[in-house]
Symmetry: C2
Subunit: 335 residues, 2 copies
DNA sequence: AAGGAAAATTTGCGCGCGTAAAATTTTAAT
DNA sequence: ATTAAAATTTTACGCGCGCAAATTTTCCTT
């Protein structure tokens, strides 16, 4: 930068100013810099820039499992929005592991981010590590909530998801049983089960929760194995199955197919299957999956906006807000 | 670090040495540092460390589209391997856009990575930008090859994929037609089409390529739309369809289902569908997808190993090697 | 045209660390 | 015990840049 400033005939700090905001220097100076830029194609070192900046333009985005298309898609959108706002997002995936999540938080501290959007692992997160991190770095939690941590939480209203699917299913046929993992990694899963119990009770129906075993993030395989077992055992009390999430449902559909069972909302079908999330692939399953959709764009927009507000207000918001967006029922062929 | 060194009673550079390699300091010194570490839980700033290091421990991983589970999965594996080898990987997705890819390469330069694993966009890459980057940063290309760029290429042998599927399909039933995008973003797609033509000719069969329109990375939807069109037009010359890749096949299967066509290898089925990649979801489609699998672990292992060799030898390898791994046929229910 | 305020630029310093060379300590050998 | 050699630690400097304060330039007013 020193050299570049020399050949431009301008002092280095002025060049530095230019790169932080081209409009902060005089038009004539700007032109000289841009002219020199053409010739020597210099570009400042981002990490050296951030080293001394009071407020960096870095933001961190952390998700529990990036190989899950649901998170991959959300991350893609959030990333673009951050770039559009002039920030430099860096994406991290915890890969479902507590150790990874902790080491990401460490890395993130030295990145000195202006703010962080964090979707924690949930049950397997190291709560105190996250709490400590949030105290030092302005953080907005999204997707899955950890009581009291971060400056705000943005996510979906699990109750609304379940309410809509249960209402729809019981209105149009048999009341659903609820197909879920026994020990879900994600706290949303627990909220969904509770919502199911609540909604079923409120409309005076007998709830029926089918919990299957399985650990980790291979939900499709877990759903398939669990589905095969449940179907073979005849453990379903009804012909309508509401899966806790779409990935589980994708596995369950696969199990149904293997068992020769037809799934769909038509009378001649053996089963109806619905689910939650509107996973990117749920419209391509056979049959296409009836599901309750996240308001993807609302969640991403609100997360990003909240983060920006947090950054502008210097890392502290008044009181911790929890914003929940309702689901939208997507009626497809499976139920 | 200055402060921490002071309270440890050791000079800062020695502490610095410790963090670069705990064994490079005397045992007694190491103990004193580690004792102090317990009390003050100091940790060095990664980015300040890398600023002056001759050889950083950073590696960059760039993929064209992270929301594609195929890349998400490969990245997950590669990332773990890099961590295990003591490197700090940073993941970037070009999101299918040339501008993004270029700006990632810029960011990467200031990260001063010891090496980069780059899966380029392919057709829509800015070739000269990538060439320039490869000259300055030790780079191993993977997944999709750009003639002569980078110090090495590691990928799958497209010919082997197509050969196996075509051989299998024609041996067990009607010869396949080839279902592909007209203007594929990825150069592998072209190689697959050519391999198809070649293999069909070599076994004395009439090739039949069905090219569909569509832009971007929403392959499932493109496959579905194209599938609906082709099926309605009766444009398929045979009841066996070989898709260029699994995501296209997932869309095509969805189209078949919508049209009421049954897919499978049994005689009573209307169509057989096979494909290439062994996408993480291909075993959960209905029916499960017969496909030619990448040797995922071989490709990731070899990419990473090649990168490490490249780093150790100071950024230059003798001559540019191209390593191609053959496919493995995965016979499932769809064909 | 002179004066003064505002804007732009420059000076000087420091961020958190790596690294070569110099100084010191330890080890090994006589 | 002495000393050279080896290992370790310290000194001194620099990386690429941001930022506050000091200085200069520009622009507007009377």
């Amino acid at each position: 930068m020193e050299e570049f400033a020399a050949v431009s005939g301008i002092s280095r700090p002025t060049v530095s100013k230019y790169f932080n905001d081209p409009n902060s220097v005089r038009a004539s100076t700007r032109e000289r810099i841009e002219a020199a830029l053409e010739k020597y194609d210099y570009r400042p070192n981002i990490f050296a820039m951030n080293q001394n900046r009071k407020l960096t333009k870095n933001v961190g985005i952390v998700v529990p499992y990036l190989a899950d298309p649901f998170f991959a898609e959300i991350v893609r959108v959030i990333e673009q929005e951050c770039i559009a706002a002039g920030f430099s997002p860096t994406v991290f995936s915890s890969h479902g592991q507590q150790e990874q999540e902790k080491s990401i938080l460490d890395t993130l501290r030295s990145l000195k981010p202006a703010g962080v959007l964090l979707a924690p692992l949930g049950r397997s997160s190291d709560k105190s590590a996250i709490e400590d991190f949030c105290k030092n770095v302005p953080t907005v939690l999204f997707d899955s909530n950890l009581e009291g941590m971060g400056e705000a939480f943005v996510g979906s209203d699990n109750h609304s998801f379940v309410e809509q699917t249960v209402q729809y299913l019981s209105r149009t046929g048999a009341a659903p049983c609820f197909f879920e993992m026994r020990n879900p990694a994600n706290p949303n899963a627990n909220k969904r089960r509770n919502a199911y119990l609540e909604v079923m009770q409120s409309i005076g129906l007998e709830p029926n929760v089918v919990s299957i075993d399985g650990e980790g993030w291979g939900f499709e395989e877990i759903g398939r194995q669990g589905g095969l077992k449940v179907l073979k055992d005849g453990a379903l009390a009804t012909n309508t199955v509401l899966c806790s999430n779409d990935r589980l449902a994708i596995g369950f559909l696969s199990a149904c197919y293997e068992m020769g069972l037809t799934v769909g909302r038509h009378e001649k079908c053996d089963l109806r299957v619905a689910s939650h999330d509107d996973h990117p692939f749920s419209r391509f399953t056979c049959p296409s999956l009836t599901t309750a959709a996240h308001d993807y764009s609302a969640v991403s927009d609100c997360s990003v906006e909240t983060l920006f507000r947090l950054i502008e207000s210097g890392g502290k918001l008044g009181d911790r807000t929890e914003t929940l967006f309702p689901a939208r029922l997507i009626m497809r062929e499976s139920a």
